[in-house]
Amino acid sequence: MTLLLGFGAVNTGNNLLYLMVSALLGFMSVSGFLGHWNLQKLDLTLEPPEEIYAGLETLVNVKVFNRRRWLPAFLLDISIDNNYRHPGHLALLKRREQQGVGVAMTFPDRGDHCQHRVTVSSAFPINFFVRYRHVELQQAITVFPRPIHCYNQGVTDVQHESGGENALRRGFDGDIHQIKDYVGGEPLKMIHWKLSARHDSLKLKELSSQYQPPIEIDPLALPGQELEQQLCCASYLVNDLICSHQPVGLKLKSHVIAPGLGNAHKIYLLKELARYGKD
């Protein structure tokens, strides 16, 4: 359009057309400048979730801080490692403001990923062009082996090996194991009031304990043709067993990690599996 009007202006010598062409050229320059500045002075940091598994899509939180003193940022699309299919979107980021946005991404391999290419793009101010800015971020993100369902053939019952008791234990946190007569001394909360009402004597609930025997996983003993498949299986077992409150340990080539419970222990085991053979 500007070219057409410019052609008309030169050929007619009409200064009013020159004015319009000048304004349009000025607009092109200013919009280019504004579009360029829209992507400048943006600080990016990645906030990955606690558990990231190879090959599984996950939502990484990208925090964007607008360092600019005067200008807000508009219509920002954020993607990581050239994954433009599901970018995070920020419509407006005020000056000196920080906002987080979830960006879907998939890590193909397990291990520590340190180099990330974050792409910020925007069609602002005019939807004729989309500008891109690539930022290389140095940040270690540990990707765990992808959990693949398998049977626990390579696990070792630590107590059984050491001659420990394998029988069901009484406890206070499991299912009802047995109904007994109340003999006195037991906690009142254990009395089965409903059943006692039907009988002449007080009946007592006897609960089983949720305690599971500790287990050690040897990844190399797990089913699978390759190490990666065995690690995937180990990853599955670690998740599955800890979820069912069974203490899990790892038997690795170089060292052994004692069985334990809890999320922190699970992350510790998964990290060991993620880095296994990558040193």
Partner: protein, 642 residues
């Protein structure tokens, strides 16, 4: 919350109105009706979200209108069919459902409409329309970007305010750049498509013929004949020379270009001015009587100081002139005297008798002029522009019967009588008077100030005589209307129009070249006498140094006072202890303790109390810390002394 579509729609209708508004009066009447109806209906359709036209019907109508008006286009009629098509396309778009690209089409069509209006009129109203259009389109395009991203987007009022404030950078920046780009964009001397530009219907009170007795009423309007940038002059000096008429046939005075070399001007005071002529489709170049030279326009000059452009003045032009106020043109000896004594044979016996009487009374030409002036006064002639003598002998009727007429009657009768008295005489056509606009510092001369006067050759010099001043009512009828004074409003409006014409309309390749030359000269004049490349280099160096200094100061300002003090302290410590660098992992106090320097420890303790707390440094604190650093510097010097 505000839906993004709402401000976008408002801006779109504003832009459409700005595009169609300047064209409206030029459109065919049916198109005017359609455009007006479509504008109103479009607003209603958008409000109800129900549209009159589907896309197929809209396309069919577009094609139909396009074909209809395309058939009307020819070399003499290009612009009008085009603007009608543009207006109709825009109307159709108003009545259809609007998606992202449709808004874009409406913006583009509106811009084309405004651009097309410049081919019809060069009015100053274009400027505010353009400014508003640029603002509307640029901000509208930003909103459209958001709309295309998510048509149902709603923004908080504060967010919308931030967006609009940022978007305002676009029109402001574009309009500022427009001023620069307008000056530097390339121009051609003779545009190929000049026929597309506005055709000027010049209404002029000035004529290249004088023919008294043709009309019973002299009608001239107040349209601007030209403007002259010049200092304010006395009323009797405001004679603007256009042409010189030498030959009379019947009652019609015409021009016969005199041959021969240019003649000298004697006496008078030199005065410079710039005259701006609107398009006239004529070749006359007006000058302040008596002109010496003009420049800034391609022209030719005859030896009676009549200036003519080499081409018809189809567009507005400005040129510089130099005249001699009160100067007289000398007549060389070898010339055609008879040409200036020629009179029509149809003159009445009464007129001839008057001339004979005067001629017999004295041989002196100047005395004959005086006697003739006396005769005119005795006749008690009135200056009038209506109820004029209309006959085959208008001069006789004017002098003896009706005794009323305007300048052509006075000048023509006076000139003929002088010629009968054997005084070589000619008529000069032009303008007399003008309103001075002290805001712009120029005279505006209107068409109703067109005037004819006489030049008589006395003592071999052409002298100006204005017989109209001999009218009994000259002061009230001739002079007063020619210098009424403009009201402040009129002066301001006219000043703006003059500026518009001077700066925008008349800007061309010649002015571009002059601007470059002028800039070069100004650059040279900054340091007189230095014309080598050293001057611009020196200026460039100074500019770079200044910019560097400003950036340094700006960056320095960005560092906090604590940061500045720490930097100075580290520099002093490095110097004192001859270190390569300071370990960044080591704490301030820890490092000072490692050095075992009491001043450093004191400084570290003092500064730490501010670094890791919410307290800010006062001027006294900064001073005290600087004193500590000074002490470290002084002690390092003392250590160096053997």
């Amino acid at each position: 919350m505000v839906k993004i579509k709402v401000p976008l729609d408002i801006l779109t209708y504003l832009v459409v109105a700005l595009g169609l508004g300047p064209l409206f009066l030029w459109l065919d009447v049916p198109v005017q009706v359609i455009v007006f109806g479509a504008f109103i209906a479009g607003i209603l359709c958008d409000k109800r979200q129900r549209y009159w036209f589907g896309s197929r019907l809209a396309t069919a109508l577009t094609l139909l209108f396009f074909i209809f008006y395309s058939l009307q286009i020819n070399l003499n009629n290009v612009v009008l069919p085009v603007i009608n098509v543009l207006a109709l396309l825009l109307s159709i778009r108003l009545l259809t459902e609007k998606q992202g690209r449709h808004y874009l089409q409406m913006f583009a069509l509106s811009l084309f409409c405004l651009a097309a209006s410049s081919l019809l009129s060069l009015n100053i109203a274009y400027l505010p329309a353009l400014i508003l259009m640029v603002a509307g389109v640029t901000i509208g395009l930003v909103l459209l970007t958001f709309y295309q991203r998510s048509p149902g987007l709603r923004l908080q009022r504060q967010q919308l305010s931030i967006l609009l404030k940022t978007a305002t950078i676009l029109p402001v920046g574009s309009l500022l750049l427009m001023l620069i780009l307008f000056v530097v964009l390339p121009r051609t001397q003779y545009p190929l498509w000049n026929f597309l530009n506005p055709k000027n219907s010049a209404k002029t009170g000035f004529s290249e013929q004088v023919q008294p007795g043709t009309f019973a009423r002299n009608v001239a309007d107040k349209s601007v004949a030209f403007r002259v940038k010049i200092k304010e002059l006395a009323r009797e000096d405001l004679y603007w020379r256009g042409t010189v008429l030498t030959t009379i046939t019947g009652k019609v005075w015409t021009r016969e270009s005199p041959q021969g070399p240019r003649r000298a001007i004697v006496g008078g005071q030199t005065i410079d001015y710039t005259l701006t002529l609107p398009p006239t489709n004529e070749r006359f170049l007006f000058t302040l009587d008596l002109p010496e030279e003009i420049e800034g326009i391609s022209h030719q000059v005859d030896n009676d100081q009549v200036f003519m452009a080499r081409r018809q003045l189809e567009k507005s032009h400005s040129y510089n002139g130099q005249s001699r106020l009160g100067g007289q043109l000398q007549q060389p000896s070898n010339w055609n005297r008879d040409l200036y004594l020629q009179v029509p044979s149809t003159l009445s016996s009464r007129i001839k008798l008057i001339a004979d009487t005067i001629r017999q009374q004295t041989d002196s030409l100047s005395q004959r002029v005086v006697l003739l002036e006396d005769f005119f006064r005795e006749q008690k002639l009135s200056y009038a522009d209506h109820d004029l003598p209309v006959s085959t002998a208008p001069i006789d009727e004017f002098l003896f019967t009706k005794k009323r007429g305007y300048c052509e009657f006075f000048a023509s009768s006076f000139a003929q009588l002088l010629r009968l008295c054997e005084v070589p005489t000619r008529l000069v056509g032009g303008y007399h008077g003008g309103e001075y606009n002290n805001i712009g510092g120029y005279y505006v001369v209107t068409e109703d100030l067109a005037h004819v006067w006489v030049e008589a050759l006395i003592e071999n010099r052409w002298q100006r005589i204005d017989p109209s001043r001999l009218a009994v009512n000259a002061d009230s009828a001739l002079l007063a209307p020619r210098q009424q004074g403009l009201s402040l409003f009129k002066r301001t409006v006219d000043g703006a129009e003059y500026l518009w014409t001077q700066v925008i309309i008349n800007y061309d390749l010649r002015q571009q070249i002059n601007l470059v030359k002028f800039s070069g000269q100004k650059l040279k004049n900054i340091v007189p006498g230095v014309v080598s490349i050293r001057t611009p280099l020196l200026i460039l160096t100074v500019l770079v140094a200044l910019i560097t200094l400003l950036i340094w100061l700006w960056r320095r300002q960005r560092i906090s006072p604590e940061g500045r003090l720490l930097k100075r302290y580290q520099k002093a410590i490095i110097k004192k202890y001859g270190l390569q660098a300071i370990d960044k992992n080591c704490g301030l106090l820890e490092f000072a303790q490692q050095l075992d320097d009491p001043h450093a420890i004191k400084f570290a303790r003092y500064l730490s109390s501010f670094l890791y707390t919410d307290q800010s440094l006062t001027d006294d604190d900064v001073h005290a810390l600087n004193v500590l650093i000074d002490t470290i510097i002084v002690s390092s010097r003392n250590n160096q002394i053997p």
